[in-house]
Symmetry: C2
Subunit: 146 residues, 2 copies
DNA sequence: TGTTTCTCAACACTGATTGTAGATAAGGCA
DNA sequence: TGCCTTATCTACAATCAGTGTTGAGAAACA
């Protein structure tokens, strides 16, 4: 994702208006590695601007996704997650207990589908999702089993 | 997934009652390779038993998943999909246009996470989702672009 | 500054899934 | 078989993430 300043110019260049709410959301997303849900972005934005509505957050997240500045991910945690890291290709670690999502920057070169196994699909992308327990949930699982 | 007869015994052995509705759902799932949603299972079940309720379908699908006879998949198509194929490990092809899901039976052995890249996660499983266009949607996309 | 067009925020709505509770039926036993 | 206990079934209401609508308000641009 670009910086808030660059996003301001990008929005103007695309005929979108730049409002205080949108700039607030730009700042909130800047450097956020947690893959926040719309709700989480709203909570963080509210700390800077009490009256911002959840709908506005959704709108702006969709605008950013449309411009390719963030990506939206459905990782099975019950809510769409948004990812400002669109510059390096990566996969994801998902905690099956608390839903935490972390980047896994690693190349897995051998995702070639064997001949004939693609059943006629025209395959455009492959995502790998690693599911497990994050350090925090691992810790509490340990304590429970003692 | 076991056969309807075996599932009947399994349910009884687990203290669950075997009803005509449940057996109807067993039959519907038997050999279904489409990874149906609960709604799709309900539609198919209704053809054999007009009055079966959607809630009963959800309940039975959850029971089967709890017993390990089917698995439930969230592949980002908007609905949970159910998979009676729990016997051979496989990955999935998902059509990004119509949501069709197909098995991809192929081993991708090199999914080892590089040392230190797991961020302390205890990784239990890795799923690969291949997204693209199914043969039918590919065909209609072709016709549109001519 | 005035005009146009986009955006804001409140509200109602959707669609998948879950919760509730009384009616009903399964399974065990005499 | 007939009764009893208990799980299950159905209809209905509720939830929850996300979307559609609309009048008020603000940005862009001349
Ligand atoms: Mn990411
Ligand atoms: Mn499958
Ligand atoms: Zn966790
Ligand atoms: Zn398709």
């Amino acid at each position: 994702m670009k910086t808030p300043g660059e996003l301001t110019e990008l929005f103007r260049a695309n005929g979108r208006k730049v409002t205080a709410q949108r700039q607030c959301i730009f700042r909130v997303l800047q450097g956020d590695m947690t893959h926040p849900s719309a709700e989480a972005v709203h909570v963080a934005a509210t700390r800077q601007m009490e009256t911002i509505s959840l709908k506005t957050v959704y709108q702006t997240l969709h605008d950013l996704a449309e411009l390719g500045e963030i990506s939206s991910l459905d990782l099975g945690t019950g809510m769409i997650r948004f990812d400002p890291n669109v510059d390096d290709p990566h996969h994801h670690l998902v905690c099956r207990h608390c839903g935490k999502v972390r980047d896994l920057v690693a190349a897995f070169p051998d995702l070639q589908i064997p001949n004939g196994a693609d059943l006629g699909f025209e395959v455009g992308s492959a995502e790998i999702v690693f599911r497990g327990l994050c350090p925090e949930c691992r810790q509490s699982a340990l304590q429970l089993s003692i």
